[in-house]
């Protein structure tokens, strides 16, 4: 694997540029073929894989949504009986939240963050590979169970006692709980990688106030993941224990408490939505300046807004429990905090508007999605302010009003920016442009289809239609609006279909993109499209927040890294002063073995507690193989 035609310890400034690129490609490359694909630790390959897989889950979850809409298009629908419908709506929610929304945001970060901070690979590359396999395993577990009529049917937040040992029959709730374990493990791993990459692997000179806003968003998001996900780990594990080994955490007859579940779940569940939303906001902050042709207005307030959102996110969870009979005074505190979190969101919106105000807008597809986002997300944010009010919520909680609210903030607030981000970064990832013409059609269909589908749901909520009902009776006044919603959902679905078609076609036949087709300012645009395996031939050095606008023709770089082993730069947290030439692990098949062993243990433990004991042994063996020093140049 080491360079066979160069002397050991040859540094990058000792080779001329084409020889350097050849040598780096040899050291950093992934061998083609099946084994190479299984053993790669290249963040770009893993990131692409993750993005594609997450979008496949989006497609599958979307089909479930269409099934629900067909069933609800008329009263006493016969397409889905209650058991199947309850599985479908649970699968839809769990799939979208755990297998699409969080993973896709992490996936974008896995691909983009190392490039944006000017390093060669994400921190802990083998852990990155492992986290993808674990995510995939969790998704397969959920969908195979559904195919076997064992899909969870208790709602995506699985309240006890419905999901408990007495009323949650079979293994459905256990499958839900263990799927959580897979996806949370995967998300935690990526969060740790991102924190270490952003804090310690930034290009020399990239001080805190020069970090791209998308990277800041991912840093804050990763901390939220680290602090929130343990709550759902505790919740899902204690649920499995109640169901499998007879503990009484949620059994009021033996000192347990039904609301304990809700506290634990929502302590995770509320930050979860900001885990999804903050990366989207980071994408908007990346796109707006480029298409306003000016640097972002209010960099510092935007960073502070991200951090404030992250902190406040942990103080809101009781707003999901306003009608459970908790003391009203305590609930009012959570009204105040839930409304307060609208302020940092407002700060961000005003800063983007200010950027656009004094900019010269270039109305390309990525910006169209940002416009769709602002128009739609503000509605969702305002209905959020409405449900934050305890008295308001007592009427609309658990009705279609809330269904409308969270789809407005999740689709409007996260999916629209994501689609804009795909149009924006697709040229970097594939080397080809998506279709601008189709992009306008996608944006139009999705925006119109979304609003026609979900706005009427606010009215349905006011008309008394509760959530999670598999059908409704003829004597209720909901039939016309439900039919309208169902028909409109076809428009939305068409928009998504067109999006997928555009992505697949453009990947093969799109117009070739250069390194920087949008004339953007951040470091990922300083390298080829798609980037070579080593990202940058020499590590960049930055002196501003918009390095490619400061100096469009020449990139400042640092020299002196070895070319016979994988090396990148470790720098200090605040000033990004270089500290070490750290090695980066090579391709390895051990993450896959470890993931397989972990999957076996976790699936087995759905059925027997002894799995935790015996299943740990293969995991230990795989981890020892993973970490045992190999004596390669990276070990020096």
């Amino acid at each position: 694997m080491s360079g066979d035609r160069i002397a050991p310890d040859t540094r990058d400034d000792q080779l001329e540029s084409r020889a350097l690129e050849r040598q780096l490609a040899k050291v950093w490359g992934t061998p083609s073929g099946f084994w190479g694909a299984l053993a790669t630790v290249d963040h770009k390959i893993i990131g692409r894989r993750y993005i594609v897989t997450a979008f496949v889950f989006l497609l599958m979850g979307g089909v479930l949504a269409l099934l629900m809409r067909i069933q609800l298009a008329q009263p006493e629908g016969r397409l889905l009986g209650p058991d199947l419908y309850n599985q479908v709506f649970t699968m839809h929610g769990a799939n979208m939240m755990f297998l699409f929304a969080v993973p896709v945001m992490e996936a974008m970060a896995i691909y983009l963050v190392p490039l944006m901070v000017g390093t060669r690979n994400i921190a802990f590359p083998r852990l990155n590979a492992f986290s993808y396999w674990i995510f995939l395993a969790g998704g397969i577990l959920l969908w195979v169970s559904f195919a076997l009529n064992m899909g969870p049917d208790v709602g995506w937040f699985a309240y006890v006692p419905l999901s408990g040992p007495q009323y949650g029959s079979g293994k459905r709730a256990d499958i839900w709980a263990q799927m959580i374990t897979f996806t949370e493990l995967s998300a935690l791993a990526v969060a740790v990688e991102l924190v270490v990459t952003v804090l310690k692997q930034r290009a020399p000179g990239m001080t805190l106030n020069r970090i791209p806003l998308f990277v800041w968003a991912m840093l804050v998001m990763s901390f939220i993941v680290i602090l929130a996900m343990p709550a759902i780990m505790v919740a899902s594990s204690t649920l499995i224990m109640d169901r499998l080994v007879g503990t009484h955490f949620y059994n009021p007859a033996e000192g347990g408490d039904v609301l304990l579940w809700q506290h634990l779940f929502w302590f995770f569940g509320h930050p979860e939505v900001y885990i999804i939303f903050l990366p989207a906001v980071g994408m908007v902050s990346a796109i707006v300046p480029v298409f306003a042709r000016r640097s972002i207005f209010g960099y510092l307030p935007l960073v502070l807004a991200l951090i404030a959102t992250g902190i406040l996110a942990f103080g809101l969870w009781v707003h999901h429990m306003f009608v459970t009979g908790l003391p009203r005074l305590g609930e009012s505190f959570f009204t105040a905090s839930s409304m307060a979190i609208a302020i940092p969101a407002g700060v961000q919106i005003f800063c983007w508007l200010a950027t656009l105000w004094d900019g010269n807008t270039s109305l390309r597809t990525p910006l169209l999605f940002v416009i769709a986002f602002i128009v739609t997300f503000v509605i969702g944010g305002l209905t959020g302010v409405m449900v934050a009010s305890v008295p308001f919520d007592t009427q609309v909680h658990d009705t279609y009003f809330v269904v409308a609210h969270f789809h407005y903030v999740l689709i409007g607030g996260a999916v629209f920016p994501l689609m804009g981000a795909i149009y924006y970064w697709f040229p970097k990832i594939t080397g080809r442009m998506m279709s601008e013409r189709l992009g306008w059609w996608v944006a139009g269909l999705v925006f119109v289809g979304f609003n026609l589908t979900f706005f009427p749901m606010h009215v349905l909520g006011f008309q008394g239609m509760p959530r999670r009902v598999y059908t409704y009776q003829h004597d209720m006044p909901w039939a016309e609006l439900n039919l309208f919603v169902s028909v409109s959902s076809v428009v939305l679905a068409l928009g998504f279909l067109l999006f997928f078609i555009d992505a697949v076609r453009s990947a093969r036949w799109g117009a070739p993109a250069g390194g920087n087709p949008w004339n953007a300012s951040s470091l990922e645009w300083a390298t080829n499209s798609p980037p070579p395996s080593f990202n940058f031939a020499s590590i960049p050095v930055v002196r501003s927040a918009d390095p490619l606008w400061e100096d469009p023709d020449v990139l400042m770089v640092a020299a002196g890294l070895r070319t016979d082993r994988r090396e990148l730069i470790i720098s200090t947290v605040t000033e990004a002063q270089p500290q070490a030439r750290e090695s980066s692990p090579r391709n390895s098949i051990w993450p896959l073995w470890a993931a397989i062993a972990t999957t076996v243990m976790l699936v087995w433990s759905i059925f027997s507690p002894w799995a935790v004991v015996w299943g740990s042994i293969p995991i230990a063996i795989a981890l020892i193989g993973w970490f045992w020093p190999k004596g390669d140049p990276e070990d020096e």
Partner: protein, 201 residues
């Protein structure tokens, strides 16, 4: 690619950093944050259930103080050799580190033996009631950490006697392992208070 201009020469930087210049040190910290949050939440569950219960413990005597207190003393004492192993690893003194890590491996086994007695000293089973469930949860969570840290230490001990040992990376690994052992000791202390002293209030 863009044209480049060299503005910094980094060739003299070390090939591996220690402590805050080491990615695995930061990874260890992140892992401590995750697990620490988990421990804090289980303590939260304990306190929550305590606040709801008319009597505490529920239908059981308070856990016997013996094994738990012995274990606490062992853990607290272990911080001293742990400190020295970390210091010697920082100085990259292989002989001393080899001795120290064998000592830490043995010290890692002792608490597990005492812990086995501690479970029955709880005077309640996990499936008796919620009080028993949360007690076993806390003790079980901590025991898992003791076991995984022991396995880590044993593997590292083996490595320190191979040709791979003379490497600043290995010394960094020893330091990360020592850091994590401190975490395992510190997280035990609030658990000890909850399990043994809150029922006696």
């Amino acid at each position: 690619m863009m044209k480049v201009r060299m503005v910094a020469d980094l060739s003299r930087l070390p090939a591996h950093g220690m402590q805050s210049a080491s990615p695995t040190w930061w990874g260890t910290l992140a892992f401590m944050l995750i697990e620490g949050t988990g421990f804090a939440l289980t303590i939260g569950v304990y306190l929550y259930l305590w606040s709801l219960a008319p009597t505490w413990p529920i239908a059981a005597p308070a856990p016997d103080l013996g094994p738990g207190t012995v274990l606490t003393l062992i853990l607290l004492a272990s911080v001293i050799p742990n400190y020295f192993v970390s210091k010697w690893a920082g100085a990259e003194d292989l002989r001393k580190v080899q001795i120290g890590i064998v000592v830490m491996a043995i010290i890692g086994i002792l608490p597990l033996i005492v812990r086995a007695f501690e479970f029955s000293a709880l005077n309640i089973w996990w499936d008796s009631n919620a009080y028993g469930s949360v007690l076993w949860l806390m003790l079980g969570l901590h025991t898992t950490h003791l076991i995984t840290d022991l396995v880590d230490t044993l593997v590292l001990t083996a490595i320190m006697f191979t040709r791979h040992a003379r490497n600043s990376r290995r010394f960094g690994d020893v330091q990360d392992n020592a850091l994590y052992w401190n975490f395992v000791v510190i997280t035990w202390l609030p658990l000890y208070v909850c399990i043994y002293w809150i029922p006696r209030l």
